[in-house]
Amino acid sequence: MRKLSSTWLNIGFQLLGVILALAFTTLILVLAGAPPLQTYGLIITGAFNSASGISNDLVVWVPLILSTAGLLITFSAGLWNIGVEGQITLGAIFTTGVLRIFLDTNVPPWLIILLGILAGMLGGALWAILVGALKTFGGVNEIFGGLGLNFVATALTLWLIFGPWQRPGVGSMSGTVPFPERLWLPQIPGLRMSIWSVVLGIAAVLVVYLLLRSTYLGLKLKAVGKNVRAAFLIGIPTSKYMMISFFGCGLLAGLAGAVQVVAVYHRLIPSISSGYGFLGLLVAMLVNYHAIWAVFIAFFYASLNIGAIQLPIVLKLDSTISGILQGMLVLFVLMVDGVRQRLLKK
């Protein structure tokens, strides 16, 4: 009975967090001179009103859920993998590289795409392992290591775009030369969405869900995350498991980068990660280790991104307004949870 009421209390507090986030965002809208109701209406219609709206949501959802799923692994091990952005970027770079290598060969396109995706996963994993190695062997906190490597990844992208992988003539911020359509993940006719990438996203969530729920590996990662000292004394080689969690997250972040190349942009562009790594951090924080919830929260966040796109055209309002709501949701939900714990302690 007591447990039940505390569950309702928790839900009540989380709802309060959502309401506060909406209230704060509304306040910002009012201050910016925008009509709040119309703005929210536009976001909703933009995101859900048409098949292309929903398919666009899914285009954003796939890389977002991939990076979120990866981050759930590192979060479980108690690690703040801020470097996820760079890992997405490296995934995209590796995929682009492999696609370029096989561009003018007779290798069947499906194989090139597959190799490209695998290479992307490898690239993300390597970049993540680097963060892990810096932490384990160099004593560099993963937050600093990851942040540093994010900058390096961005610089690397720019160098490739304006250097070795330059478009014929002069390099441009619009990226490398687009790949021919045979090297794209097959798309649904008339829409930007590829059913294959959605399958990849769902598969990744399921794998992470099973991993954390029903495997020794997942249980050990959780033990490391919740009490690294006790986990070590129980006999878990904690450094090794931290590396494994970075590796796992890197694989999925790399996959997100690969999807950005083979299913969305079909080339390497300067901000190929589109901030989905950071957005994934927000989603992962919000769902508190629950992989299945992440599916829906990530979709909600993706649809906010898409829904806000037409705001500049209709209301002369910057589309970053969706970012405010996304950020505020996390802040207020976490804050309300902190308040709840404080109140319950007394």
Partner: protein, 504 residues
């Protein structure tokens, strides 16, 4: 300044696991007094000092300064009332300059006046005969110098009542002399000194009177001339007696130390030679921080020895990592159950699964639940497989830790295996441990409970400031003898033996 406490009480935790750290403490300390406070670990002396200095608040009771009741909520309040505390580990800032550190805590000034502060610092140094350069970094100072700096800082902040917590731990003999003369001169000018220590000798040498604490209770006071035996009795007297001592049957050598030396943050331990036999129990006795924790953790592979050799069975594991020790059936049970032993947020069943060797990739939850249920009933843990460990009581957590141990074990290393447990749980846990001994496990354990040490050990090592006694036969050692050794008295007997051991 006259300081009085009236009926100070403090309880940690609730229900059956509640610890009464201070029970109705009434104490009066006039100005100019050097008041000693004696007591074993957990006797409540630190709790009282933390209440006086504002780190924690009492549940009930009053503090009076010069007869006026005061409300001390934070350390800042305490300083404002003139109460300052020198912590055992000085609360200073190693990466800062001495002068910057000295100026910290000065109230209500926007702009610093380093020149004035420097003059003040040098004046204080001259007065007490210290010599610390204001420009040097705090982390280049010795512990003794850091204490001196902290004392000067507190004095400059206008402290009238100075609490010193175990100040003679880890400082050199000349520094101790300087410290004592400083304390005496401060008392002479009317400051009130509270000197918390477990070192009988220091207390007897310095203090004008001594208060003894035991299990949260203020037992009584003594003035010179001090009777050491009486003080020891006041500190360690135990009302409850445990079971009869039963010697173990012993087998082969499970652990062997040769000329083992360990270095800690402030101490160097010369553990020498020791052979631990199968079935044997060795108790490590001494005040916390005297080196026994380091030796135990060294035997577990958690700390590397700086010299010597450590054999487990016939294998030389010197310098090998902890996991290698674990593979050779050495187990270590830490004192802080929820910090190092268990994983808060995870269930009993998850713990039992983790402690087993993984079989395959996927968890077998059905099997895990069955095994968890078996262990829970075997070890009499009040919980279910899905109980999160943090919601268990202390005794149940300890039994859970025991239930997590692998079988067979060659060496079992226990830090305070029964700390905070009631007598019933204590007896239960030792019965389980002795069961393991009868199957060939050798045990080394630390306890601050002398009765427990004498009761369950076959041999005892006493630690005092990094010194290790030769193994004493438990059967022929008395509580009194042990108490004196822990307080640093009666070590002369070993000096000759000790030298021989060091040579061997």
């Amino acid at each position: 300044m006259l300081i009085e406490t009236k009926g100070i009480s403090k309880t940690f935790g609730t229900g059956s696991s509640a610890v009464h750290a201070n029970v109705d403490i009434n104490i009066t300390i006039p100005s100019g007094m050097i008041q000693g406070v004696l007591g074993e670990n957990g006797a409540g002396k630190s709790t009282l000092m933390k209440i006086l200095s504002g780190f924690i608040r009492a549940d009930s009771g009053q503090i009076l300064l010069d007869g006026k009741p005061v409300d001390i909520r934070t350390p800042v309040d305490a300083i404002r009332y003139g109460i300052g505390m020198l912590h055992q580990d000085p609360l200073d800032f190693p990466p800062m300059h001495v002068l910057d550190n000295f100026m910290l805590g000065q109230d209500g000034r926007l702009i610093l006046d380093p020149n004035k502060a420097r003059d003040e610092l040098l004046r204080l140094e001259e007065r007490f005969g210290f010599s610390i350069s204001p420009e040097s970094y705090v982390d280049s100072l010795t512990v003794g110098e850091r204490q001196q700096l902290e004392i000067m800082r507190l004095l400059w902040m206008g402290v009238q009542i100075l609490i010193l917590d175990e100040p003679t731990t880890g400082i050199s003999a000349p520094q101790k002399e300087v410290l004592f003369s400083t304390i005496r001169s401060l008392a002479q000018e009317g400051k009130t000194i509270i000197f918390v220590s477990h070192k009988l000798e220091d207390v007897e040498l310095l203090c004008y009177k001594v208060a003894v604490f035991r299990q949260g209770i203020f037992v009584g006071e003594m003035q010179p001339p001090y009777m050491t035996e009486k003080l020891v009795e006041m500190m360690f007297n135990k009302a409850i007696s445990l079971e009869k001592h039963e010697p173990s049957t012993m087998g082969s050598v499970n652990l062997k130390m040769s000329s083992l030396e360990i270095e800690g943050y402030r101490i160097h331990i010369n553990a020498g030679n020791l052979e631990l036999l199968a079935g044997e129990v060795i108790g490590l006795s001494g005040m916390e921080g005297s080196g026994q924790e380091l030796l135990l953790r060294c035997c577990a592979g958690l700390i590397r020895p700086v010299a010597g050799q450590l054999m487990i069975g016939s294998k030389n594991l010197t310098g090998k990592p902890y996991l290698a020790f674990l593979e050779n059936n050495v187990a270590f049970l830490p004192a802080s159950r929820l910090e190092e032993g268990l994983v808060p947020g995870m269930t009993l069943m998850e713990h039992f699964i983790l402690a087993e060797k993984s079989r395959g990739f996927f968890l077998d939850l059905v099997d895990g639940r069955t095994r968890a249920n078996d262990r829970i009933s075997e070890y009499n843990i009040h919980g279910t497989p899905s109980t999160p460990v943090e919601s268990l009581s202390g005794g149940n957590q300890q039994r859970a830790l025991l239930a997590l141990l692998r079988t067979p074990l060659n060496v079992l290393l226990l830090e305070h295996p029964t700390r905070g447990l009631d007598i019933e749980s204590t007896i239960y846990i030792w019965r389980k441990l002795k069961e393991r001994c009868s199957k060939g496990t050798a045990i080394i354990f630390i306890s601050s409970d002398l009765e427990e040490i004498l009761q369950y050990s076959d041999r005892i090592l006493v630690f005092f400031s990094g010194r290790v006694s030769p193994p004493l036969e438990a059967a022929s050692t008395s509580v009194d003898q042990l108490g004196q050794l822990i307080g640093g008295k009666g070590w002369e007997v070993f000096s000759r033996q000790g030298e021989e051991n060091a040579k061997a």
